[in-house]
Symmetry: C2
Subunit: 325 residues, 2 copies
């Protein structure tokens, strides 16, 4: 088998996920899991497991079950996060707790977590231990990230370092772990597995900061409200940067904008945006994104795999860091 | 190392659990986990893992981490079940969702589930796969049991078979799995591992039915309200049996008692108890308990282990099936 592209891997994952048959009973446990998994998503994480496995072993078949485990785990976190964040919609559809109620969302989420474990345990016996250790360490970090995210809502100020650590845990480690897991299953050299983890972490950071930026500076679309983070007073890197870069007067103005109530939220967005522009926040965050992207590229260059594989990963990293929506 | 007793194993587990050091941060994730684990509990499940492992290998050290995983998993289910059941107290202390709020209970429960996995993954490499498969299959069954239990609250009638299947999933399989897990880690013959599972399942069934019976016929104590199940209209085996054994008149009377509102709940308990006595429910359930106990003993007799070990298990089974509170 030659190199597969990440887009091929996404198609493979989609057809594998369609094949999953959940037990019929108890319906309230398995129908929500089915619903969440069928609602789509980009399937980037499981595709990366297949891709990196295939790069090193020329085959991805041993990575299929663990890759579905990674996707199942990701979806489990979404179900529980949506309860905690009171989110009404996910991928354009009602969230599980809205559609079936809170208790069902808790319990079917739990079942998805168990199913995730079971799929990851489908890793080949010789690498089962390192795969499970990576998975469990990562899963715990993702919980920590979500906890910090919730903690931040109650805090008056969040430092840049705290914010970056939160998004590393909540978002980046799962991307890194997906790439490393595929490498372990493909029996890649340990050094390459570690480099892919570094690549994934830094690409994940660039991805999340781009997400923060696009909330304010992106083209609208996909049902996302422009400036949603500003309206919700979310402590994104943009706001944290603005608060630390501002002088006393501007900081007071910004704090006032955040604490006022607004009949027209878009007026608030416009006024905060004005301050961001004055402080050069877009450029500052773009510099940070570039730095993370360069760190990812640095790790990428050191890999021992084919340049064809490196090119594919380079395109992938760019698509996450430089995207416009 | 000679045979350890189950009471020794309980002491061992308690001292191992005291040694667990949770990360300091994020505090809202790990303090609740610490709190739940420190609140005690009988530690029967992890003790059984150590005990059966030791019976077959003469050593329990390889079973310590997985046994803590089983206890951690059990405690995770309690944290999430308590949210779903709106329980204010557990082991005489405020439940996590009451003490820290619902979101914290969801997320720290999730973290406990991940930690449970991590501990179970501490099983020796040669048996890691069967241990994980047993654990995951069991964890999923426990979720199914909780779902059926919640489903039953919404149903008008629950059959005896449905109820027995629910308690098998919610309670018995984890006892069976604990015993089988220890046997696998102790490299017991496959036949013995399967027999211990059967023993655990049937002892678990006897235990739960005894629990149902003690709610009504037990001596009071330990903060439990006499007849709590009756007051809550819980569809226990006693009620299911009574409804199916009653003639039309008595069934109507029983249904009326359940649907009426009571200023003095103990009056309701007394009246329902009168019907139970009239129908011989205590005796009928005792016969069922004895049948489960006999099935457990039957499996026990076929084990290839020492008679000393069998005696210890026999005493254990009797203590669960024949206890008075």
């Amino acid at each position: 088998m030659g190199m597969i592209k990440i887009s091929d891997a996404i198609n493979l994952i989609n057809s594998e996920i369609e094949k999953i048959s959940f037990p019929a009973q108890p319906g309230m446990l398995y129908r929500p899991a089915e619903y969440v998994l069928a609602a789509g998503g980009k399937r980037i994480r499981p595709a990366l497991v297949l891709f990196t496995c295939n790069v090193y072993s020329g085959d991805y078949s041993e990575a299929i079950l663990p890759s579905i485990g990674i996707e199942m785990f990701h979806n489990f976190t979404l179900v529980h996060d949506d309860i905690m964040d009171n989110s009404p919609l996910r991928r354009g559809q009602p969230t599980v707790h809205v559609k079936w109620g809170r208790d069902t969302a808790i319990l079917s989420g739990d079942a998805m977590m168990v199913l995730a474990n079971r799929f990851v345990c489908g890793a080949p016996a010789p690498v089962l231990k390192p795969v499970m250790e990576l998975f469990n360490a990562t899963a715990l970090e993702v919980c920590e990230g979500q906890q910090y995210d919730m903690d931040f809502e109650q805090m008056d100020t969040v430092s840049e370092a705290q914010y970056l650590e939160m998004i590393r845990l909540k978002t980046s480690v799962l991307l890194g772990a997906a790439m490393k897991m595929g490498a372990i299953i493909g029996r890649a050299p340990e050094k390459d597995a570690a480099l892919l983890y570094t690549f994934g972490i830094n690409t994940g950071m660039a991805f999340q900061l781009r997400d923060d930026l696009l909330d304010v500076y992106g083209s609208e679309g996909f049902g996302k409200q422009r400036g949603g983070d500003i309206i919700a007073n979310k402590k994104t890197l943009l706001l944290i940067r603005a608060l630390s870069a501002a002088d006393h007067t501007i900081r007071e103005r910004l704090m006032n904008l955040l604490s006022s109530s607004w009949n027209d939220p878009q007026e608030k967005v416009a006024k905060v945006l004005e301050i961001y522009n004055q402080l050069g926040i877009e450029n500052a965050v773009n510099v940070m994104i570039t730095n993370y992207h360069l760190k990812a590229v640095d790790a990428l260059k050191k890999l021992t795999c084919t340049s064809e594989a490196k090119n594919e990963l380079m395109q992938f990293a760019e698509s996450l860091a430089v995207r416009t929506r």
